[in-house]
């Protein structure tokens, strides 16, 4: 049953079953590991709470905000990550005059996408470290910039 959250107005839409992921690593352990690794990325201030629905992985008596794990198939987990990025990074980039001769991939890939690419890469690394098969999808949502 979906829990009702009248206080914040947010929906706790993702109540995931306490299924065990492949290799017997619990969803909570995976979500915890993802959050830990993402928080270490420069420019990531916090995990997001979701925009319209509360984004979290739920376990017994606790939840991990900012990561939603969905069992796409029996042996694959889809990941949805919500992050809050640091405004200082953007203020600096936006106040710099863009260089018209920028030619390398790092320079031409927009900063926001570079950061989200990094987040996706970290999620994939986390799965690899835990000995899990790579998730088929890693959705990233930038909930806020502060």
């Amino acid at each position: 049953m979906l829990p009702l959250d009248a206080g914040s107005g947010a929906l706790e839409a993702q109540v995931l079953s306490a299924q065990m992921a492949p290799e017997h690593v619990s969803d909570m352990a995976i979500a915890d590991a993802i959050v830990h690794d993402i928080r270490a990325i420069p420019g990531v201030v916090d995990m997001g709470q979701g925009l319209f629905a509360k984004a979290a992985t739920y376990g017994p008596k606790k939840h991990v905000a900012g990561v939603v794990l969905q069992h796409a198939t029996l042996d694959a987990l889809s990941v949805e990550v919500h992050v809050v990025l640091e405004e200082a990074v953007f203020i600096k980039a936006l106040s710099d005059v863009p260089r018209p001769d920028a030619s390398s991939r790092t320079e031409t890939t927009p900063m926001l996408l570079r950061m989200t690419d990094q987040i996706r890469a970290v999620v994939l690394q986390t799965f690899e470290r835990l000995g899990l098969p790579a998730p088929p999808t890693v959705d990233v949502t930038i909930d806020d910039i502060r």
């Binding site: 009702l4 959250d5 925009l51 405004e87 980039a93 106040s95 863009p98 927009p110 996408l113 806020d144």
Partner: protein
């Protein structure tokens, strides 16, 4: 109220409307209880309404009419709110999934970009998703010494260029309105 609660409200409204319509039809003798009781389901309930005397039937009809009105109002209200769910801006959609950003974050970024231009004190902005890109409307408070049309033009160019190059978001329209009056005027207090 969250999405789940709103969905429940929509469902309950629909059930209330359907129930009331059935009562109207039963009381009016348009349908018989057996026709709306598949396998005898709720047959007794429908029979009760079908056998009401004229006075009770009138009361039932009035109550049902009231229920329908309330349910329709609730339904319209909930559907309007649900339809206004914030549309996220999709930055990338590839084989690995979607990358999205909240419109409020983009609005903030417009503000940062605008404030990086000399002469801009404060801005208020709205960002809307157009068919081919973002449509940005900026109201900028400028210092009196600057050339407003020039700053406005710089603002347009910088927002468009910065968003495309740093954020990967195409901007199709940047409307700028400049002003020298502060956005929030201090309210005068009447001294007695």
């Amino acid at each position: 109220m969250n999405v789940f609660n709103r969905s429940i409200m929509v469902l309950l409204s629909l059930v209330a409307i359907a129930f009331s319509i059935l009562v109207f039809l039963l009381v009016g003798g348009v349908i018989r209880p057996a026709q709306v009781s598949p396998g005898g389901f709720l047959f007794n309930l429908w029979s009760f309404f079908a056998q009401l005397n004229q006075a009770d039937a009138t009361i039932a009809v009035l109550i049902c009419a009231l229920v329908v009105i309330v349910a329709v109002i609730l339904l319209l209200f909930e559907l309007t709110i649900l339809g206004r769910a914030p549309a996220q801006l999709v930055l990338r959609n590839d084989s690995l999934g979607q990358v999205t950003v909240a419109p409020s974050s983009v609005r903030r970024l417009v503000g940062y970009t605008a404030k990086s231009i000399e002469g801009v004190v404060e801005t208020r902005q709205t960002v809307k998703k157009g068919r081919d890109g973002l449509r940005v409307h900026i109201r900028a408070l400028l210092v009196p010494e600057v050339d407003a049309p020039e700053v406005g033009h710089m603002l347009q160019e910088k927002v468009q260029k910065s968003f495309h190059e740093h954020l990967g978001l195409p901007v199709t329209e940047v409307q700028v309105a400049t002003q020298l009056e502060p956005f929030d005027k201090p309210r005068r207090r009447r001294v007695q």
